[in-house]
C-alpha cells in the first residue's frame, strides 16, 4: 500500500461523501482521478484488505431488535461440524471457535439476531438439543456501550486517554 492507498483507507473509514458520485468526490479530496480511485478500490478489494464499501445497519432499528451471544461447549471432536451448522443459519452473523479461559469453559461462539429474545432462546435451545450439546449459555445484549469502526489510520482523539 502506498501513501495514497492509506489516504483512501482513511477516507473510507468515514462515511462516503454525499452526492451522486462518491468516487469522484473521493478523487477530488485525494487529488487523483476517478479512474485511479476505482483502480485502487479494486486493488484493496483484491488483496483482501477491503471487504466492501457498503452500509452497516443500526440493527436495533431495522426490526432485529434482540441480539445475543450464544456460547457452547461442543462434544469432543464436533466443534467444526457444529460451527458450520451455526454458520449456515440466517440468524447467525458471526461464529467463532475461541480458546477457553479461567472458569469460562465454552469454545464455540455465535452472534444471534432475532426479532425477540424468545425467538433467540428457542433457536439456541433447539440447536443444543438437536446436536447433543449439554453445556451452553445465552448472553443477551443489555446495553451497547460502544460500537465504532476500526481506525487503521492514526487520528487525533483516538488514542487511549
Amino acid at each position: 500500500m502506498d501513501a495514497l492507498d492509506w489516504m483512501l483507507v482513511g477516507e473510507l473509514q468515514e462515511n462516503l461523501p454525499p452526492g451522486e458520485n462518491p468516487w469522484q468526490a473521493l478523487a477530488c479530496r485525494l487529488g487523483i482521478s476517478e479512474d485511479d480511485v476505482v483502480a485502487r478500490l479494486k486493488g484493496l478489494k483484491a488483496s483482501g484488505k477491503l471487504k466492501r464499501v457498503g452500509a452497516v445497519l443500526r440493527h436495533q432499528n431495522s426490526g432485529f431488535a434482540a441480539n445475543a451471544m450464544a456460547v457452547f461447549l461442543p462434544p469432543p471432536g464436533r466443534t467444526d461440524e457444529l460451527g458450520e451448522k451455526l454458520a449456515a443459519s440466517p440468524m447467525v452473523s458471526h461464529c467463532y471457535e475461541r480458546v477457553p479461559c479461567g472458569e469460562w469453559i465454552y469454545t464455540l461462539y455465535a452472534m444471534i439476531h432475532g426479532r425477540t429474545e424468545e425467538e433467540i432462546s428457542a433457536f439456541v435451545s433447539a440447536f443444543a438439543a438437536e446436536n447433543g450439546v449439554e453445556r451452553y449459555d445465552i448472553l443477551f445484549s443489555r446495553e451497547e456501550l460502544k460500537k465504532s469502526s476500526m481506525v487503521f489510520f492514526g487520528r487525533p482523539g483516538n488514542e487511549p486517554g
Partner: protein, 157 residues
C-alpha cells in the same frame, strides 16, 4: 413503528444491495438505480433518508483487520455495578476497542480489541484489573472463524 415495516420493496432491496457493497465501478449509484428500476437521484435521496432515519449507521469501507496487519481479540470481564460505568469509559477510551456490550450473565462486559501492537492488549487487560480491582478479565483469542458477515435480509417475509 420499526422502519422496516414502513419500507417499500424498492427500499428493502436497496438496503440489501447496500449491505452487499457498492459496485467498485464508475457510477455506482447509477448501476444500483438500473438494478432497482429507479433513477440515480431517487437512489441517493433514499440513501439520505435511510441514514437520517437511523436505519443505516454508516456507509463506508469495511476492512479485514487481520489483512491490515492487526490482531483482534474478544475480552469478557466480570465488572461489579459500582465500577461498571468507570470501567466502561476506560475501555471505550481505547481506539482499538470497536465493540463493547453489557450482557446478561456473570461475565457482564464483552469487548473486542484490535491492535497493530500485540503488547497493547496486555497493557489494557492489566490496567483494567488494577484500576478497578477486577479478578475475572479473560482474553478469548479466536482459533477459527466459521462465519463473519453481518447481513440482515430485508426482503425476507
Amino acid at each position: 413503528m420499526l422502519p422496516e415495516m414502513t419500507m417499500d420493496p424498492v427500499g428493502r432491496k436497496l438496503v440489501n444491495l447496500l449491505q452487499e457493497g457498492l459496485p467498485l465501478e464508475k457510477d455506482p449509484y447509477g448501476i444500483l438505480a438500473r438494478e432497482l428500476g429507479v433513477s440515480r437521484e431517487e437512489v441517493t435521496e433514499r440513501i439520505g433518508t435511510l441514514v437520517d432515519g437511523g436505519v443505516i449507521r454508516r456507509i463506508g469501507g469495511v476492512f479485514d483487520s487481520a489483512a491490515m496487519g492487526y490482531t483482534s481479540l474478544l475480552v469478557g470481564a466480570a465488572v461489579p455495578g459500582e465500577v461498571f460505568r468507570d470501567a466502561a469509559a476506560f475501555v471505550n477510551s481505547f481506539g482499538g476497542v470497536t465493540h463493547n456490550y453489557r450482557r446478561s450473565g456473570p461475565l457482564n462486559m464483552w469487548f473486542t480489541f484490535a491492535s497493530g501492537d500485540p503488547g497493547e492488549i496486555d497493557g489494557l487487560l492489566a490496567a483494567l484489573r488494577e484500576r478497578f480491582g477486577l479478578t475475572s478479565v479473560y482474553p478469548f483469542p479466536k482459533v477459527k472463524h466459521f462465519k463473519l458477515r453481518v447481513f440482515f435480509d430485508m426482503e425476507k417475509e
